[in-house]
């Protein structure tokens, strides 16, 4: 490990300058906003922690938080398992890699809004291709939109569909970077493919897995389009997630204090759910990696 020298510090400048100007400074201002009451074109009125009290005493906030927690954890972990399995499958060799690759990444390439709409069309009770297929298979009418558990399951499904390529790509690229010689050594030592996967592939993919986990938590926590376009939080606000709550309570009414407070509470919440992985990453960084 070399000591940080001026050249290295200079190389950090572009990244940190971008983050500082575009996100860090505005975030600080947003914190100030959260301590004030304001709307479009109005001056700020300092109200202390009132906005936080408003949000934290709102039953809608807590329902949204619970929904978010359930959906986020389901999405992130299921997606991770599928992605690892898929990456391992691809690692064993792919025919027509270019085309396969394009196909696998397509759900990610399509815009989120359109992706959700297409699923909604296909799942429309009584008319969608998938809903009618499910019905014709004898499962009864697939009326997910009025059942919060079913609706949130559909949200989870679509979110996984859309973001799986992200997680897959990170993990697959991580697996590809493992030197072949390690596998050769393991094979000579008599390892079965299964052992190879558990003893070499998986441990050496941990850094990539950590990153994908952390960033998927970051992205999933602000899940919006899936819920907004499918149920708009309904019926009766039962399927709202935090980002929808933020939009409903903050932006729809132009209450920036509430919106900012909710935003900062979401920061704390997502730090909470991803804390183990953040801690692990910090540890690796302190130890200077491998």
């Amino acid at each position: 490990m070399r000591r940080l020298n001026p050249a290295a510090i200079l190389m950090l400048v572009p990244t940190h300058l971008l983050l500082l100007v575009v996100i860090a400074l505005p975030s600080i201002y947003v914190f100030w906003l959260s301590l004030n009451e304001s709307t479009y074109g109005s001056d700020l009125t300092f109200v202390g922690l009132d906005n936080y009290v408003t949000v934290l005493t709102s039953s809608y906030f807590w329902r949204a938080a619970l929904n978010t927690l359930i959906v986020v954890n389901a999405v992130v972990y299921i997606e991770l398992l599928i992605a690892i399995g898929m990456a391992a499958l691809f690692l064993g060799g792919v025919r027509y890699p270019k085309i396969m690759f394009a196909i696998v990444l397509m759900p990610y390439a399509i815009s989120e809004v359109v992706g959700v709409l297409v699923w909604k069309i296909m799942l429309n009770s009584g008319s969608g291709v998938l809903a009618r297929t499910i019905e014709s298979l004898g499962f009864g009418m697939f009326n997910w939109s009025v059942s919060p558990p079913l609706a949130l399951s559909v949200v989870t499904l679509i979110s996984i569909w859309h973001h799986l390529p992200f997680t897959f790509l990170l993990i697959y690229a991580g697996m590809l970077a493992i030197p072949k010689s390690l596998y050769e050594a393991a094979r000579i030592d008599g390892a079965t493919p299964w052992q190879e996967f558990w003893r070499i592939t998986l441990p050496l993919t941990i850094p990539a897995i950590l990153i994908s986990l952390i960033f998927r938590f970051v992205f999933a926590f602000r899940l919006f389009s899936e819920v907004w376009l499918l149920t708009a939080g309904g019926p009766a606000r039962l399927t709202e997630v935090l980002a929808v709550y933020l939009y409903q309570s903050g932006f729809k009414y132009g209450e920036f204090g509430t919106a900012s407070a909710t935003g900062w509470l979401m920061v704390i919440g997502s730090l909470g759910v991803a804390s183990i992985y953040l801690w692990a990453m910090h540890r690796r960084m302190l130890k200077g990696n491998d």
């Binding site: 940190h16 983050l19 890699p97 196909i103 009618r132 970077a177 960084m285």
Partner: protein
């Protein structure tokens, strides 16, 4: 070899059967993956060639006479679409280059240097991304306007790049971590400056990471809607805004045109992915060190 260790010949026939079973299972899994990934997309692409009336037919027609009317409509009625695609391209390419360049530099530093400050700033890199972007736009909008950057490509390029630079830095770090440090030293002894080391030796070997980052940033910038909506009006307007106008809340969505637009939108990204795939599976680090 006297006692215990004697070679038992495996049952070759059983092994062949197991191999065949494995091949079949693998093929089935690939088919499953294709169906899962491509089915909704195929639905969009096929629908874009159907008459409006046929789009929602159940059971859907697999074989039909294709029509190009929606593509024609896209070109003639939604005249903004193709020009805005050019904007999308400028913005996406610009954001990709900026994000990749910044993250290669910082990812290299995070990989090759370590101290308490750097380890702490990794947490900062991630934590800073936790605030929902829509909230961040509150203070950004007046600032961008005051800087006269509203409705320019540069504002979207900078915004998109910033929103990915954290993740890309971490990606680049993990990939550069896998490159033996002696290669840096060899380059230094060969007389390379830090920049030459990075761009001539490290970057070519971290192309997998660069490819992954490029895909992420490009795809995001290509489809991004919220910031484009807030920060552009005319000159820098991107294609997703036109697509959203097709999904109209007054006269209803024009599905045929929407699907045609989405299909067109998908093409450049698909090409990029196919291009990047080559770098992703290159596995260049083989043979660098050791016998």
């Amino acid at each position: 070899m006297t006692d215990a260790a004697s070679i038992v010949l495996p049952n070759m026939a059983a092994r062949r059967v197991a191999g065949t079973v494995r091949a079949i299972v693998r093929t089935l899994l690939f088919v499953l993956i294709i169906v899962w990934s491509a089915f909704p997309i195929l639905y969009v692409v096929l629908s874009s060639f159907k008459q409006q009336k046929e789009i929602f037919k159940y059971p859907p027609d697999i074989i039909f006479t294709p029509t190009f009317e929606h593509y024609m409509a896209l070109a003639t009625k939604w005249t903004g679409f193709f020009p805005t695609m050019a904007n999308s391209l400028i913005v996406a390419v610009g954001a990709t280059l900026l994000a990749c360049a910044a993250s290669i530099l910082s990812g290299f530093v995070y990989s090759r240097y370590a101290n308490r400050f750097l380890a702490g700033s990794v947490l900062y890199l991630i934590a800073i991304r936790l605030l929902p972007p829509i909230v961040v736009t509150l203070p950004l909008f007046p600032v961008v306007d005051a800087l006269k950057l509203s409705d320019t490509h540069i504002v979207l390029i900078v915004l998109y790049a910033t929103f990915w630079v954290s993740l890309c830095t971490m990606i680049m770090k993990t990939f550069i971590d896998k490159i033996p440090r002696t290669l840096d030293e060899a380059a230094v002894v060969d007389g390379a400056t830090t920049m030459q080391t990075l761009f001539r030796v490290i970057m070519p070997l971290a192309l997998q990471g660069v490819a992954a980052c490029a895909i992420f940033v490009f795809v995001f910038s290509w489809n991004e809607y919220l910031f484009a909506l807030i920060f552009t009006t005319q000159h820098a307007k991107t294609a997703p805004l036109i697509i959203s106008e097709v999904m109209d809340a007054v006269s209803g969505t024009n599905w045929g045109v929407l699907f045609a637009g989405v299909t067109v939108q998908l093409l450049p990204v698909t090409l990029l992915v196919m291009l990047a795939q080559r770098f992703l599976i290159a596995g260049l680090t083989a043979g660098s060190v050791k016998g």
